[in-house]
Subunit: 203 residues, 3 copies
């Protein structure tokens, strides 16, 4: 019961942080309010929507209006408190990382519930967490940042592999989920803290 | 019966106008005929395809070849009568707006028939009417115009809200659809006539 | 039995060549390893995934890990043997064309098995063969090359029309598939050899 509330709370926080990220990127291209909203929605629900289409189920946001409302609140927030956004960058980073890790684990668990094998579930977790940012960059006519800098999607993959190992070792499900969540967060935090990134391809 | 013919007529007109829009944009990037056809198809059927995937049904254009044929006719038209396109800009604008409004209402009604709640149906109407233009801009490597200028997608949303209110007031279904169609058209026409647009986001 | 082995062999070759194409394009934008992998995956499985979503079935790569593994091997290959890639351009071109033709025919046959009419199946064959390259170009923030140069998607369409005609003439299924495969290959090879391309649109 209490766990449910905590999960819901992180989910709203993460959705809000993801939406803020989309709307801020839209601001830098001087999109109008509608364009900002769509970019916010794209980041907040894009990854989960692709996951749900791939595992053949109705996209999650179509059964609960909270995600679209949350993005609308984020849009009002950006419009009204524009000056407050910059100093709060560390806060957004924390929310965003919590959201990434939660969406990763939620994506893995939903895929397993729908009968997918674990390697598909890990891919779906990664898509849930990081595909929204790619859609945002495509809509904004930018090269996707997660393909160039920082450990972002890889944190999902590694968290997913941890989930797999813990499952194999018969660790209880709740503990497995919690640990994989923390590992995803930790990898993201540490990679940003110590400026770790993947090698670049050369032509 | 007569209503069916009118609806079919507007649908063909709208598909034709949407396809022309995609092909003309492709021309400005010097795409070849195939590229032009794909951009035309993207605008004409892109929005409805996304809607159908989201509400879990077979995309509408896969059950009736008229949409692909209509786009092929539009391609021939652009190739043969290139010089006539510019002076007809007002005509395209009228056709495009009729198409937008019809696709909006059709998207709302189809979603309701598939058991979606009204707020999802309104979003689906907006996607049906305006997502095709976004796909076109993504394929052409442009920033989506509907995120920056003019009331386009918002006309769908407002027409959809009108649909919702009229339903709530127990207005008969045909009248509801007709009024919401006219409201969508009117908002688009008036916003262009009086150069009304949404505020822009700043960073 | 032997046919199955040949088909599987061409499928792996084609997937490998498609993945190499995505990863090389990603290299030219200095994406990191993860970005390269995603671009490789996009080309290798993107078209088939769109086809499977449109005909309402689980994407093929989610039931067999060979496609993701094949892309991982391609990534290692590009990283380790970067200098060998350029001199092998003709080899990649041959593999890529074999892959294009096979994915085209496979897309047509799968769509027919799922009860689609032949004109939809031809479109699906074309999507299976060529949509992956479009996704790659969208992710890389380039204008899609297949909309501008060379006969690529049109080779699929013409191979598909050949398949249709052969079916109508009651040619046995295996022979129909083999001939349509060869016709797709031949059109692509000849169009590159003799620099044949579609006319360009002008504004």
């Amino acid at each position: 019961m209490e766990t449910d509330i905590i999960i819901r709370f992180i989910e709203i926080l993460g959705t809000f942080a993801f939406a803020i990220s989309g709307i801020r990127h839209a601001s830098s291209k001087h999109f109008d309010w509608f364009g900002g909203y769509v970019c916010g929605v794209a980041v907040a629900i894009g990854g989960g929507t692709i996951r749900d289409l791939l595992i053949s189920t109705t996209p999650f946001w179509m059964t609960d209006p909270v995600y679209l409302i949350c993005t609308a609140v984020a849009l009002c927030f950006v419009i009204l408190f524009r000056r407050w956004l910059e100093p709060l960058n560390n806060t957004w980073f924390v929310f965003d990382t919590l959201g990434l890790a939660l969406f990763n684990i939620a994506g893995i668990q939903k895929s397993l519930e729908f009968g997918q094998p674990i390697w598909v579930a890990i891919v779906m977790g990664c898509i849930t967490g990081s595909a929204g940012g790619v859609i945002r960059d495509v809509l904004l006519n930018n090269e996707p940042v997660i393909f160039q800098r920082e450990i972002y999607a890889m944190a999902c993959i590694l968290g997913g592999v941890a989930y797999w190992l813990l499952l194999t070792w018969n660790v209880p499900l709740t503990l497995t989920a919690a640990l994989a969540f923390l590992i995803t967060c930790a990898i993201r935090f540490l990679s940003v803290r110590y400026k770790i990134s993947l090698p670049t391809l050369h032509d």
